[in-house]
Symmetry: C2
Subunit: 152 residues, 2 copies
DNA sequence: CAAGCACTTTACGTTAACGTAAACCTCGTC
DNA sequence: GACGAGGTTTACGTTAACGTAAAGTGCTTG
């Protein structure tokens, strides 16, 4: 909890066109504040497919974006399986047959509905939080008053 | 996946003032489309505290609301521990001391920040979904065209 | 009264998403 | 050439949030 997450890395180690840049697993891990283990796990689950240089993993811009999307999905409560489902279909899209494409559109519709529900949930929960907050502040103010009137 | 979730029960078994109504575990389970096991588990985790009638659990309106809030929290990716944290502090509020109240307000601030981030995540993910959807439909249309021009 | 619900407790099983540890390469550098 | 900082694989451990099964209680209904 020391450094803030740099979702968009502006480290900019050297002014490279970003499309050419490559990343080590450690770099990516620091960027998104996850452990290397997590990144390897995502690969194992078919969410990432970095190239290799000998034994070492080499991550390109594409991989970085995928990781970003994956983590965003996670924050929204999607399972890795769900995320993979969309990501893989997206990759298979160019040469996808009609059936697959229709299925993809279907899935997207589901996700959309899901997001809408979440937005509503957020709206409601915000109201409740505001409410609780208000009450808490009221009680707190009350306590302050009593304090003063007890020892004037 | 047969019945739709009746978040707000309008079963209205008998026109009772709702504040007096009580629910069995099975009723609640059906209402929110969870299993009784889940509800018992939430109790065990300190999120619910129904009264008893002999051995059987009796749920009041208050319990129903709590369950509703808990499930909403879950849909937003909060852990049961986090949810309990707020719920318990809320309950302890009336006679809470200043330190506790300030802590509660702090927590609420955290949750708020969390929700804001989620809203941003949702916004971004929606755009991406729209984008993928658009591409998919394009490719699909392409396929249709080829089909026609191959056999006119 | 037997059968069938709806409920109870106890307890072990399961799955997802990693954490953690051990044992091994492979650099640059002191 | 020892070593420290990064990387690697393999494999077992852990936690949250339930699922599932067994065995019992209590009512009411044919």
């Amino acid at each position: 909890m020391s450094r803030s997450p740099s979702q968009e890395p502006d480290e900019n180690v050297d002014a490279l066109p970003r499309q050419q840049r490559t990343y080590s697993i450690g770099e990516l891990a620091r960027m998104f504040e996850v452990t290397p283990r997590t990144i390897r796990f995502y690969e194992q689950e078919g969410l990432l497919a970095p190239s290799r240089q000998g034994q070492k993993r080499i991550y390109r811009e594409k991989d970085r974006v995928r990781l970003k999307l994956t983590l965003r999905g996670k924050r929204l409560g999607f399972s890795l399986a769900e995320i993979r489902e969309v990501v893989m279909m997206y990759d298979a899209m160019p040469d996808g047959n009609a059936r697959q494409l229709k299925r993809l559109i279907e899935i997207l519709e589901e996700k959309r509905a899901n997001l809408e529900r979440q937005q509503e949930d957020i709206r409601l929960m915000r109201m409740e939080i505001d409410d609780v907050d208000q009450r808490a502040r009221d009680v707190l103010r009350q306590l302050g008053q009593e304090e003063k009137s007890r020892k004037p």
